[in-house]
Amino acid sequence: MPDSTDALETFRGEARAWLEENFPKSIAHRGSELIGMEHVAEDADLDLWCQRLGAKGWATPTWPSEYGGGGLSQLEAEVLRKEMSALGAFNPLTVKAGMGITMVGPTILEYGTEEQKQRHIPPICRGEVFWALGYSEPNAGSDLASLQCKAEDKGDHWLVNGQKTWTSGANIAQWIGCLVRTDPDAPKRDGISFLILDMNQPGIETRPIELIAGASPFCETFFNDATTPKGELLGPLNGGWTVGKRLLQHERASQTGARGAGGAAAKKSIHALAKEYVGTDAEGRVADPELRTRITAHLMNAKAQNLTLSRMIAEARGNAKVSATASIMKNAASDVSQERAELAIEILGHSGLGWEGDPFEDHELEAVRHWLSGKAISIYGGSYEIQNNIIAKNILGLPESTQRG
């Protein structure tokens, strides 16, 4: 048994020693402050930590070491995660790489050629490149397969024309993985390929999208005679639907942890916030009993979500298989995250609706932005409804739905 208890304990000791030596104490427990959903703060110690973590391969602990990964088993990676958490350490590279670590990397490892793996995986492991993904189009969101952006075979390269939208971080990305139409005459799922493009070329332009919460990481991305070498086709020609769906499973898996309210508001538990803003009765209970009940129901949902995540990791028993259960976890995580943000806004009252300005505290302003930006969680990466379709069809074995949504 490679993961016997003794071997794991030995690894735990090694991991702890390495972390104690290499993780800068100045940034301990500051993960949520230094790295947001799509940004990484300027900090010398944070930079140092990124370099060390990337060089060790532990930002991508279970990836093969020959491409710069950590080469650890799932159980060892779980031990590492716990040891990091105990020290207040965190993994900033999952954000620094954009979609590189969470989605593109695992898909290249699965479908890529040897050349593609050697070219793309090591820089991802070191957090040196930011990846974007071109999936959605203005007329193909939830109905992804009806995408129109096309790639033509020009002998030694592909010529790409069309538009993508909701491309997170496209304005700062070095690389983008795109689903493109390579056979316009085939049935819609059979004419799609997965193509990798260099973002630094004149044929690609990006335009940021402002959301209800204000600025956002999302962009519209335009391809006007953009090109990429033939060797950047990932997986089979016209077989991109399978590759793309596989990537989405990795995406869902990466979205299964409830983010909760980010920033300063997250430092306080939701019940502490309620005691402060709503007040308490003579027995020390939250003064509004109906709110108290809903807070408790929410905390129970959050705990259930968390326990389910660890149960699924345990049941996978070291098998990294990403499966349709990721859809369950994505929806549960959306519920918990949005529930918390709604509760926070309700608890803060008018103080939680401030848009900008000195009369509001930072955590109050963050709460309103977080509440609004969180509305996207149940839409991106396959909407709540799409996930339910996947559960119904792929897990429960119900027939293909006759009324599409």
């Binding site: 660890s310 149960r311 339910n388 429960l396 739905s401």
Partner: protein, 382 residues
């Protein structure tokens, strides 16, 4: 949180097969129609005894197998799927834990072997009103020269009509509502002054109101310390709650499976109804909740096993979480089961109603979801 062990998975298969063959829901229905006095089938209970399940949490020294609560939960879940009626939970889990956690060596050797081989039924007599309220106990235990005199009534006692002995929650001090002043007594059913009135509830299981009319017991009937029973009572009840939640998970899981099967086979408007997105989404949401509930139940049972004979706030939180989540989900699932089956769902001939009735009875036992949300919030200090 760890996954089930190979041994637990094997036992799950064994329990599933046994319940399906020896104690299926058809047998429960037949027992209901016969209006069996005990609320369970004696032969079924004896069969469970032969399998050794009532001794799963009984120490080996007293004839049990001491395999832990998660293992017990696996069995309860599978029996829950078939609505198998027996005193397994009331005696094998609750009675056994009361003795294990609070009993003296003498009390344990007198009762645990009988619990383990299903020849004795020991049940907890706790509630006195329609709602679960252990600290609300008013039943008095007055000190006498030789021991104590118990006076009062316990309501809705599980297997109260068939029990050989009761672990009675009584008040030796304080007033109803206080945690202080509670004591546990072991009282035999045949003792002078003990009488019970069989109750027929919607779920057709064995319940009774038990009256203690000046029952004289010796000092050796006291389990644990006089007046200080609240902590151990909480611990016994938490184990009961997590175990019952496992049974509820089984009731809900079977309700889900039957409903899914129906969605795959029932044709309306020329199509299998499971293809209608509105129904597919309801099934997907039920399945998601089922998975979340399972995590809570298994986590609570696992935490009990890891804690050994100790208790903690974290453990109490997990037990309340499991009972509240199982209650909410079973409530939802049993209603969805009826609605998605349409007209047949409300006929007595079909089994859905049996699951609905059992659902509500288990929800109300050992604290409903409201009780546990309140407790959860109180434990967390808000």
């Amino acid at each position: 949180m760890a996954a089930l062990t190979e041994e637990q998975n094997l036992l799950k298969e064994q329990a599933k097969t046994w319940a399906g063959e020896e104690a299926p829901v058809a047998k429960f229905r037949e027992m209901r129609d016969r209006k069996t006095e005990a609320g369970f089938d004696k032969a079924t209970w004896a069969g469970i005894g032969e399998l050794g399940w009532p001794g799963i949490v009984v120490p080996e020294a007293f004839g049990g197998v001491d395999m832990g609560h998660l293992t017990f939960g696996v069995v309860l879940e599978e029996l829950g799927r078939q609505l198998t009626a027996s005193p397994l939970l009331a005696s094998g889990l609750v009675g056994a834990n009361a003795l294990r956690l609070a009993g003296s060596e003498a009390q344990q050797s007198a009762w645990l072997p009988g619990i383990a081989d299903a020849t004795a039924i020991v049940t907890l007599a706790v509630d006195e009103r329609p709602h679960h309220a252990p600290y609300g106990t008013a039943l008095q235990a007055e000190k006498t020269g030789a021991g104590y005199r118990l006076s009062g009534e316990k309501k809705h006692v599980l297997e109260g009509g068939s029990a050989d002995a009761f672990v009675v929650v009584a008040r030796t001090g304080g007033k109803p509502g206080d945690a202080e002043g509670l004591s546990l007594f072991l009282v035999e059913a045949g003792q002078g002054g003990v009488s019970s009135q069989r109750l027929t509830l919607a779920d057709s299981r064995g319940y009774a109101n038990v009256n203690f009319d000046g029952v004289e017991v010796g000092a050796d009937a006291l389990l644990g310390s006089e007046g200080g029973a609240a902590p151990v009572l909480d611990q016994i009840l938490d184990r009961a709650r997590a175990g019952l939640a496992a049974e509820m998970l089984g009731v809900a899981g079977q309700s889900f499976d039957m409903t899914l099967d129906y969605l795959k086979n029932r044709v309306q408007f020329g199509e299998v109804i499971g293809g209608f997105q509105a129904l597919g989404h309801r099934a997907a949401e039920c399945f998601t909740k089922l998975e979340l509930t399972r995590s809570c139940v298994e986590a609570a049972l696992q935490a009990i096993d890891e804690a050994g004979d100790s208790h903690s706030q974290e453990l109490a939180l997990l037990c309340s979480l499991s009972k509240a989540k199982a209650g909410d989900f079973l409530h939802h699932m049993s209603n969805e089961m009826i609605q998605l089956h349409g007209g047949i769902g409300v006929t007595d001939e079909f089994d859905a109603g049996l699951y609905l009735k059992r659902a509500r009875a288990t929800e109300a036992t050992f604290g409903n979801a409201s009780f546990h949300r309140d407790r959860y919030a109180t434990l967390l200090g808000y």
